[in-house]
Symmetry: C2
Subunit: 317 residues, 2 copies
């Protein structure tokens, strides 16, 4: 029977792999058209509200292809369950045969998403981070900061969330993780105190507005991955000096960039694709102290391909 | 950990379920807009040639949703492997959580595809089947006939295939299954001898032409499920008295009907959707002795939903 790995197996394997370079290479391959990544499959549910995304694809000339199913059911915490779940499937590119089932319960998606944020910050964040701001109090609100921690000495963290209880839990957890955490009463107050902001909510109305953003700020917006979710007012992208999307074709359809394009506040020619931005140094703007940048992460199957491939290789050792 | 079922488990469960009514109900639910079935996800491979289809969806108000991954790698038999493989995943519609992994190796797809053919023949085939014709010698060439056997006393079978070796194996197998099998040198000779024809190949050029088809013939074309595959010359559909597709939205994009529409030989208003054809007796043409009918089966996720649901229910007993 095909290899079926539990979350425990996967976490153990992952602890022995330095994933960030793999994901970074994945973005570059994607922007170089070396990856086959069809449009995201989507199932939407009304009652209870939820969405499931199916991301799939392969790197040309590789050994495997990957299908990833990830869902977010946002009322799950009310019944004591994680809002996110899912699995990844690894198949042979030569025979189509299923090789491994990674029952990661959405964990690999969380990791590759957090790593994409780390990569965006690596190329876009100001050199001197005065404080890190987080909008939201869920899994990514934690993991994005944990991964960012690798690349900065800044330990000042501001957070805003809708639920007082969740904010309190977040403050407790992140203080344990070594941060000095300040919870504030509005997203605007996060922006007023921070020059790196990570937005991590499933909001469908803008939470941050252009006038709130300090000069020199980098924003990683990773919460919106459908055509209905939106965390940033489109004027933020309109006024930003640098706008980077993880996938131009996806960002046309979903996420923050799609809203700003539709509002006529942003032109597609001014949107950089992350992999191209990484690979082509000449395309990168020289960042000055007042530069405002936005990275819009909708999640690309190439991240799933890379993390699944690396984990499978480790598990097979 | 989530329940993972092997092919053996699945076959055992399936043997205790009468699946045909479930699949038939699925088609009806689909045509009544009670099913959510987004467009098929597709990955194509060049070297070796292969395709993977991802079909997914749910019946509104049900307990589960299903994601099915099925691939066809047509050179696999050269290295001793089955050309088709795959699995089905069953998730909760209430929490998104994975409930069961059905490692069916493509078997459930084969079964639900064969059952769709049986259903098409039930509503469309002439009352007196003089001989059954099969184009192709693969898995579906066998299973379609096996399932059709339930509803007819006809045991005369004509077959055409490209490979002499595969034809010989097919003849041997189907004679064991109780048929009198005649292999012929061309698809046209199958048509000249049969008033029910099933086409089961991954051909990309037409194999059957309008002038070959006897009056009173029913054709189930199930081989073409992409926009490049085609088994029937479009004139067959143009001249047919009844054309039924399993999914109008899919048949616009892929399969035989899409070719005939694109060629201007068929109008969409003359295409019936299978579920509607089953449910709405008034829409059915009275079949006379000279009536030619075509059922174009591209494979709909609702079949996967129904078979996965029934198998899971049986396995949980």
């Amino acid at each position: 029977m095909v290899a079926v790995y539990s979350l425990e197996d996967i976490k153990r394997a992952l602890s022995d792999v330095e994933m960030t370079p793999h994901i970074e290479q994945g973005f570059v391959a994607y922007s170089n058209n070396e990856a086959v990544v069809p449009p995201v499959g989507e199932l939407l549910f009304d009652d209870p509200p939820g969405d499931t995304h199916i991301k799939y694809g392969y790197i040309k000339g590789g050994d495997i292809y990957v299908v990833k199913i990830a869902s977010g059911f946002y009322k799950n915490p009310e019944i004591g369950l994680s809002s996110s779940s899912g699995l990844m499937l690894v198949f042979s590119q030569k025979t189509g045969a299923l090789q491994a089932v990674l029952l990661d319960e959405g964990y690999l998606t969380n990791v590759r998403t957090a790593i994409a944020g780390r990569i965006a910050a690596k190329y876009l964040a100001p050199k001197n981070i005065q404080a890190i701001g987080v909008i939201g109090t869920g899994i990514q609100a934690r993991m994005q900061v944990e991964y960012l921690k690798e690349d900065t000495t800044c330990r000042d963290l501001f957070v805003w969330g809708r639920s007082d209880g969740k904010v309190a839990a977040y403050v407790r957890d992140m203080e344990k993780a070594g941060f000095k955490v300040t919870s504030v009463d509005s997203p605007a107050l996060v922006a007023k105190n921070c020059n790196v902001i990570i937005t991590t909510t499933p909001s469908t109305i803008p939470l941050l507005f252009a006038d709130d953003i300090l000069p020199g700020t980098h924003i990683t917006a990773m919460g919106s991955d459908t055509d209905t979710k939106q965390e940033l007012d489109a004027n933020i992208l309109g006024r930003a000096d640098i706008v980077v999307g993880d996938s131009l074709s996806q960002c046309r359809e979903r996420g923050e960039i799609s809203k700003a394009l539709a509002a006529g506040l942003l032109e597609e020619k001014n949107v950089h694709e992350l992999g191209r931005f990484i690979a082509d140094k000449s395309s990168r703007k020289i960042r000055d102290n007042s530069c405002i940048s936005v990275a819009d992460l909708t999640g690309v199957a190439v991240q799933d391909i890379q993390i699944a491939a690396a984990v499978c290789q480790q598990l097979a050792k």
